[in-house]
Symmetry: C2
Subunit: 280 residues, 2 copies
């Protein structure tokens, strides 16, 4: 038991951010696993997508978002976007005092813990895959693991078009995933927050022998450890009132709200506020 | 002959902007038709795409770009992006003194001049189609014309993936363009600067009887009229030195330069400069 609780800080919310709506799949997992915590979510819908943009631009955007989240008095930050985790996490950790984690480390850790063949596939945006971040982090856990990456740039627009179960999506997925033919992988990291929504299509192609890894689950576990290590866990013994959760976006709220309320969150998103992220 | 030439202003460049690289197809047409003019091109590659974003955001971004182009002392501005032409042209014309034209009016005018059935199709981004701007402008030229619009959100990512001649692109195009089955259109406006790169796919599906209209050609003609009406035509009698053309982007220059040099411009893009557009 931690007896050193500073209640104000412990009651502060957790900041979560993503380039858009995809990070809500991570927020959902955090709310499920840490039901006593409240969250402040920011989706950069005016500048989405991040996947095809440069490291410098992603760092700049992420820095603005952290500054904004600081004005909401968050106690810790989760980068729910794989691209921003890949390209900006180190920089942000150096620049800011507050604890920040990303989804990449969590995904890498889970993959290493679950692979038998030590051959791991990763799919993600161009930014994430070309950064080779998953390879680097996986090698910190297991230097012998072989990591095979493949960018899948059409997956995000296909999800946003709503073609989740569709012959076009099947064909695009078959083409992208043929990268892994004869590569003998037994684990495939879904290295973009949109991809879990294509899980059934990907599963059908990869087959039963390949384990699909969604970094969101492990990210929520890592967040719990981080809060505990920093004496930041919420002292609440009841479930946080869902009206405590706050949602912000950089473009108009309507689309974000509609998507958020379509993905089985444990509550209804009533209010989404638009802010001018460039001012931060 | 215009005898009232203020040489400094007449020698000034033409500003052209787009959300990214697509507007280079418009720049190409302007350089072909107005070879004595020099251009300053801006591609908002850090915030691309515009097609799915709100009117307020597009106006804000376009305003920043016009302010930037003013620092380059342009004498007129062409909005090469259909979405920005649809959502921001009126606002910008009200706010700024210098002459500004967009691609939408040019596309609409050509369609009206060429249709026999008075039934015109338009394809474009969600922003362009939902704004109904083409319908409004076409009705200014011909109140009886029937305009049928269809958003094609996957076309831009397919072009950017390079799948220009591909069975997946064929299938996506067939699905989107089935909107026009039995609609008896004889003209189809390619209402997004990326779409002319899919011309052969679209032609194959629409058939010989439907005229595909690329607004870029007419835009260059309209620009010539605009310059002439404002006494802004270049006094040069020789072709502008291509080193006079300037290219700016908001993200890193490499991808932009590679694309620009792949689309048959009448010169080689040697230098692309990155600027901080949010500062304007």
């Amino acid at each position: 038991m931690n007896i050193n609780i500073n209640t104000d800080e412990n009651l502060a919310p957790i900041g979560i951010f993503d380039s858009g709506v995809g990070g809500l799949t991570v927020a959902r997992e955090i709310i499920r696993q840490l039901p006593n915590e409240s969250i402040v979510y920011f989706g950069d819908t005016a500048r989405v997508p991040y996947g095809s943009k440069s490291k410098g631009t992603i760092i700049k955007y992420s820095r603005q978002i952290v500054r904004f989240l600081q004005t909401r008095k968050v106690k810790a930050i989760v980068i729910a976007c794989n691209t921003a985790s890949a390209l900006a996490l180190d920089e942000l950790q150096n620049e800011f005092e507050l604890p920040i984690i990303g989804v990449v480390k969590s995904g890498a850790k889970t993959a290493v813990a679950n692979t038998y063949t030590k051959r791991i596939g990763v799919i993600g945006t161009e930014g994430t895959i070309h950064s080779q971040i998953y390879t680097k982090v996986i090698h910190e856990y297991d230097a012998e693991a072989v990591v095979i990456g493949r960018p899948c740039p059409l997956f995000v627009p296909l999800v946003e078009e709503g073609w989740l179960h569709d012959t076009v999506t099947d064909e695009v997925a078959r083409r992208y995933l043929s990268e892994f033919d004869d590569k003998n992988i037994d684990s495939l990291i879904l290295g973009c927050t949109h991809y879990p929504l294509l899980r059934s299509t990907i599963k059908k192609i990869m087959g039963e022998r390949v384990n699909l890894i969604n970094p969101a689950y492990e990210t929520a576990l890592n967040l719990r450890e981080l809060l505990s290590a920093n004496n930041l866990t919420s002292p609440l013994e009841t479930i946080a009132d869902s009206r405590m959760h706050k949602f912000y976006v950089s473009d108009t709220p309507e689309k974000f709200q509609a998507f958020g309320n379509s993905i089985d969150l444990p509550f209804y998103i009533e209010k989404v506020e638009q802010i001018n992220i460039e001012a931060f």
